[in-house]
């Protein structure tokens, strides 16, 4: 078949003759069908369905009844909700901590010395490791009796009494943050290293000639030029905070006394442990607003600074 007969063939196939542009569009849409089908089925429809569900009461058998705003009123009677909301924000605090540590490590590893690539990989490894396995590992390290962390702290003389890491509400919260920081630091490290390597060396030369000290070079050259990179880190931190579900669920299962419960674990429990699908849909909407608001805010701040 030569290229010349091609339009005729197409005309035979489609009774209404399609222009080149339309034919291209048709092919493009055909290609998009599988991906869009999955995205619509698993992103868009659930979002709308979730909204619908928040006004309904649903039994395990699947029967639904319309209850209006009742599920929303339940928020006020749920003592765990505020805790979960608080913890959701508190645990996001691991992002700035991890980014700060990563920044320090990046400045260190940016001084190219033998083995720095190996170190980079060592720091990065936790990031791609399965969160469930990590939680299992740390759960034992945190044990108050016989846990290696308490043992090490005692040996170093930092504590006299064993800390009850996972059975005290504030220590448990701290434990979650520590593990999340440990897991994500390597990732931020990689991003910040890439950002550091994008800063032209000449700027440092000029600053040095002008007599800027190391601290000044960091404060007035490195940090401002790294701002977009740090912004990316914050956004990614927000998006990847879903891993906290795995961590909280396996490390503390929300305890002690629901003190480490976060919105996503509470959503899961309300739906699949207590069978309150409607109420958990309300919680999901709140979480969605927080996440979407966070990413919009992040993008807005970034676009304001760098356009």
């Amino acid at each position: 078949m030569s290229i010349q007969d091609f339009p005729d063939q197409m005309r035979d196939r489609f009774p209404v003759s399609l222009s080149r542009k339309h034919r291209r569009s048709l092919i493009a849409w055909l290609g998009l069908v599988p991906a869009l089908a999955i995205l619509i089925a698993y992103r868009l429809i659930p979002l709308l369905w979730n909204f619908l569900l928040s006004f309904q009461n649903m039994r395990y058998t699947g029967e639904t009844s319309w209850v209006g705003l009742e599920n929303y009123f339940q928020l006020m009677e749920d003592p765990v909700f505020l805790d979960a909301l608080f913890n959701t924000f508190l645990f996001l605090g691991s992002v700035p901590i991890a980014v700060t540590i990563a920044l320090g490590l990046a400045l260190l590893l940016n001084e190219r010395f033998p083995g720095s690539n190996v170190f980079r990989s060592m720091f990065f490894l936790p990031y791609i490791t399965m969160m469930v396995a990590i939680a299992v590992t740390w759960a034992y390290m945190f044990k108050s009796q016989g846990g290696v962390i308490n043992y090490a702290l005692q040996q170093m003389g930092l504590i006299n009494q064993n800390i009850s890491w996972l059975s005290d509400s504030w220590w448990a919260r701290l434990s979650v943050i520590i593990v999340h920081v440990w897991k994500t630091t390597g990732f931020y490290l990689i991003i910040i290293l890439a950002g550091l390597q994008n800063i032209p060396q000449e700027i440092y030369e000029v600053a040095r000639i002008d007599g800027a000290s190391t601290r000044q070079r960091f404060m007035y050259v490195t940090l401002p030029l790294l701002k977009p990179t740090l912004g990316v880190c914050a956004l990614v931190g927000l998006v990847t905070s879903f891993e906290l579900f795995d961590l909280v669920q396996v490390l503390t299962s929300g305890g002690p006394a629901r003190s480490t419960e976060i919105l996503i674990t509470w959503i899961y429990k309300q739906a699949f442990e207590f069978g309150n699908f409607g109420y958990s849909a309300v919680l999901a909407i709140i979480l969605f607003v927080i996440m979407a608001g966070g990413s919009l805010l992040g993008m807005y701040i970034q676009s304001n600074d760098y356009v």
């Binding site: 869009l36 590893l109 399965m130 969160m131 590992t137 440990w182 990689i190 739906a271």
Partner: protein
Amino acid sequence: MSKINEKINRKDVGNVLDKIAVHRGENRVDTVRRLGYFVVALVLALLFFFPFYWLIKVAATWPSGSLYAGTPSLGLESLELYNFIRVYYEIPFPRYLFNSIVITMLAVVGSLVTNSLAAYSLTKDFVGKKVVMAFMVAALMIPYYVTVIPAFLLTNELGLLNTHLGVALPFMTFIIGTFILKNSFDAIPDSMLEAARLDGASEIYVLFGVMWRLAKPALATNVILAFIQTWNAYLWPLVVVSDRKMQPLPLALASFTTRFDGNFALQYAFAIMVLVPVVIMFLLLQKQFIRSVVQGSVKE
């Protein structure tokens, strides 16, 4: 003439020697500084690596069943595989591994195909392109776990609960992968594609025969990202799978820890068995892994 030359030369040589001396001093300071950095980095890296070391140590040296051994020690004395063997006999490990592999393969292959098709479409100029792009960027902001309940109900309607496909389906396309492939396809010169089309290549051949060959790094990134997120996924399988036989590894590990609560040597052994495939892949493909993960989060 020659004497003058000699004089000048001597002077030059002296200068050069001086410079070398200065340089040597600098080098020495530099070496010491670098050594310092190296030591600091080594200490920090070992500290970071400690949980992995501890994982191996406990799994490989502790007698199974001991809830708490007296004082923890750092050394790796008396390595044995007893815990691993016991895990193997306690649970149908190959079955869980099989589930994980099938689910991950479905997600990897599926996302490779759907992402490529979508990315190829997005490189063209077509009616409604802006709408699709806007939808994808917006969908990027809907984290899947927020809508996990209706997604579960939908999977139920599709009759896919407790199936490999049901677990894999949401992972069978991901927007960032589509965008990475699109960027890579955009970089391929149009003349090449036109040449293929003139030779009578179908659109399918242009995509899978020509573009795939030219976009290998982006394809590798797609494979790695799909692999990591599916292999490690916990929440979604937890929601969709209730049948023990269909559990992938993360679920199996989590329920194992409740079954053998307190027996950390066994739990650690299982954790290692779960982690080994990913860690080996990472060690073999470090550069690709790191590049993929960075690309997956810092999309332009």
